[in-house]
């Protein structure tokens, strides 16, 4: 998969890191990004097989040189266990998106559900004038899904941010 670029020609990178699961580590982590001038595009966290360790997936735009420096600065934080940059061709990226769409008549309800099916999303809530769908996929998929739903009127939308993992060795 081709890594995305932003307007400044910077590449999108996926960083995974694990930290001690204790108060204050997220602010330490986030602070380092802002100190070095980064905007965090997405960040997702949760504990791993070891509940004392929290694993973060972070996506930012950067270039080869600056991201190497950033990673070596991250590695200096005492609560950090490891820091890796994922190779897009050897990893899987997913996010969950929840979206509530205006659906006031039968025709739009049907169409929304059909679009949901194509994206392997599921209906998680329905009311007389709205439908809430959940969909998982990489950001391109959730983006495409969002685009298609726009014409119905998106009432609310939430993303978890990307979580990523390396593919197994073949």
């Amino acid at each position: 998969m081709q890594a995305k670029e932003n307007e400044q020609g910077l590449k999108r990178y996926t960083i995974i890191t694990a930290m001690d699961n204790e108060a204050g580590v997220l602010s330490q982590l986030a602070h380092l990004f802002s100190r070095k001038g980064y905007n965090i595009e997405t960040i997702a966290a949760g504990w791993t097989v070891d509940q004392n360790v929290t694993r973060f997936t972070i996506e930012i735009y950067s270039d080869e040189e600056r991201i190497k420096l950033l990673c070596s600065q991250l590695r200096k934080l005492v609560p950090i266990h490891y820091v890796e940059i994922l190779d897009p061709s050897k990893s899987i990226r997913r996010e969950l998106m929840l979206v509530r769409v205006k659906a006031e008549d039968r025709a739009s309800r049907n169409e929304i559900i059909q679009i949901g099916n194509i994206f392997r999303g599921s209906v998680v809530d329905i009311t007389p004038d709205s439908i809430t769908l959940s969909v998982t996929g990489d950001d391109q998929k959730t983006q495409a899904f969002e685009e298609l739903l726009k014409e119905f009127g998106i009432l609310d939308l939430a993303r978890t941010g990307i979580v990523a993992i390396e593919r197994g060795e073949m």
Partner: protein, 488 residues
């Protein structure tokens, strides 16, 4: 040592842990939240407490103590304004990689987060200017936190850490079992075990890349116009002897950064003087023309490189540093070796074959001036060089010097000839006006037999003048470009 477990209150545990670390001097300023700790200090005459007139002075004193002794400095302050007054001192220590453990106390755990009287999130304030910060809300975590903090402060690339202890943890009782720093670092906390097993840069570094060292030995063999840069890392690592041997064996001119002062002999014929913005002509011409530049424990700050693109443009650049995140940060290098300067240089010396002779190159480099010259003032008054050189002459040769920040700082570094690591204590990275007086108090406390001198400048004096007349100082002469000596 009596290894039996005793029940002690948090303040006593803290003091016992300081004693474990060999602490005999702390600098600080008391207040409500830290009173339990100060009360316990009365029972421990083996720890000397030096009271300054302002927490910032104490922070610089602990820093100066650490830099000039190679031991970890300790500084106490109370919650709220006491702790925020430390911030400039914490940042100063951080920028110059000085190992200091700052200990602040905060309000009781049950008052945290309520904007209680004199409550502040000091670990949040100091996060970007410390190697690590710790919050202790329960006495049972106190001892191991203090031990870990000392380990982190002194290991790897040294630096300040801050422990914020909530007041209840200084009063409550818990089991205390004595240990030694060696024992703790061998089988201490799970955190330390992880840091060690993963070669975490906070406390260690990977094994030295022997291949790179061999490559460097070959590059040295081939080069004709070498230049060495002696940075602050040579001081911190205690690699001064190895560095001098390397310079001699390479027959290489040596430029010195502000932080490297003292690590290379001030009277050494290979010395080209300071490098960079305030550097000598010899240093900067050598940098321009050299074909191999080896920087040891130097981070290529903007004051050294000025214009990174044109820096040492004819040379292969080699960087030896303990901190992996310094590599290629400011200057693109051709080769780097990550490791403690002393160990890397020892290895390098063992890989080097023949000693070199570079008379032609040296003749060229030393045809330029090694000291920055200043015009003589028109009205016939003395020049800074005359005053400082005269002072250097009168004072014992091993006089320790601290400085404030500004013009006089550069003059002092240029005109005193520092000969051993720790002889110069100056705020290089952060450029903190008002550093000198506190630092001088700390240097004197750590080196009671030495003469300590602070060339003092009037504006700096007004930034941190609190300690003058605080019983610490005897003579304040005409402050403008005069010497202030005799700290108690």
């Amino acid at each position: 040592m009596d290894k039996s477990t005793r029940k002690l209150n948090g303040s006593e545990i803290l003091i016992q842990c300081l004693l474990e670390q060999g602490v005999d001097t702390v600098f600080g300023y008391p207040g409500g939240a830290i009173l339990n700790v100060y009360d316990k200090l009365y029972e421990h005459p083996e720890i000397r407490h030096i009271l300054t007139a302002h927490e910032q002075g104490a922070s610089h004193a602990a820093d100066g103590y650490a830099r000039s002794t190679g031991r970890v400095g300790v500084c106490f302050a109370t919650s709220g304004p006491g702790s925020t007054n430390l911030a400039t001192g914490v940042a100063t220590a951080y920028m110059d990689s000085s190992p200091v453990v700052f200990i602040t106390c905060n309000v009781n755990s049950d008052l945290i987060g309520r904007d209680s009287f004199q409550e502040v999130d000091i670990t949040g304030v100091t996060l970007p200017i410390t190697k690590c910060t710790y919050i202790v809300s329960n006495v049972k975590n106190l001892a191991d936190t203090v031990r870990e903090a000392f380990t982190v402060a002194r290991s790897g690339r040294p630096g300040p850490v801050l422990i914020d202890i909530q007041k209840n943890a200084t009063a409550d009782e818990y089991d205390y079992t004595p240990t030694t720093p060696e024992e703790f670092s061998a089988n201490g906390s799970a955190r330390i075990a992880r840091l060690k097993s993963t070669h975490h840069p906070a406390i260690g570094y990977p094994e030295i890349d022997i291949k790179a060292v061999e490559t460097l030995a070959e590059m040295i063999e081939r080069c004709e116009k070498p230049l060495l840069i002696c940075g602050g890392g040579v001081v911190r690592s205690g690699a001064s002897e190895e560095f001098r041997t390397l310079a001699r064996r390479m027959d290489s001119p040596v430029a010195i950064t502000v932080m490297g002062g003292g690590a290379f002999g001030g009277y050494d014929p290979l010395k080209t003087g300071m490098i960079g913005m305030h550097g000598s002509q010899a240093s900067n011409m050598a940098c321009d023309a050299c074909d191999l530049l080896i920087a040891v424990g130097c981070r290529f700050s903007d004051r050294v490189t000025l214009n990174p693109a044109g820096f040492a443009k004819n040379a292969k650049i080699v960087h030896i540093d303990i901190d992996p995140s310094e590599i290629d940060k400011n200057i693109k290098t051709d080769l780097h070796i990550i490791g403690d300067a002393k160990e890397v240089l020892t290895l390098l010396l063992s890989k080097m074959k023949a000693d070199k002779k570079n008379d032609g190159w040296k003749n060229y480099v030393f045809s330029f001036r090694r000291e920055t010259e200043y015009d003589d003032p028109e009205n016939g008054t003395l020049t800074p060089k005359q005053i400082l050189s005269a002072a250097a002459e009168i004072l014992p040769q091993d006089t320790m010097v601290t400085t404030d920040v500004g013009q006089h700082q550069m003059w002092a570094i240029q005109h005193f000839r520092f000969d051993y690591p720790g002889q110069l204590t100056t705020s290089g990275g952060f450029g903190t006006m008002g550093f000198g007086l506190g630092a001088a108090i700390g240097v004197q406390a750590g080196n009671p037999d030495k003469t300590v001198v602070l060339p003092y400048a009037d504006n700096n004096a007004s930034v941190q003048q609190f300690d003058i007349g605080n019983g610490q100082t005897v003579a304040a002469l005409d402050l403008r470009r005069s010497l202030l000596t005799d700290y108690a």
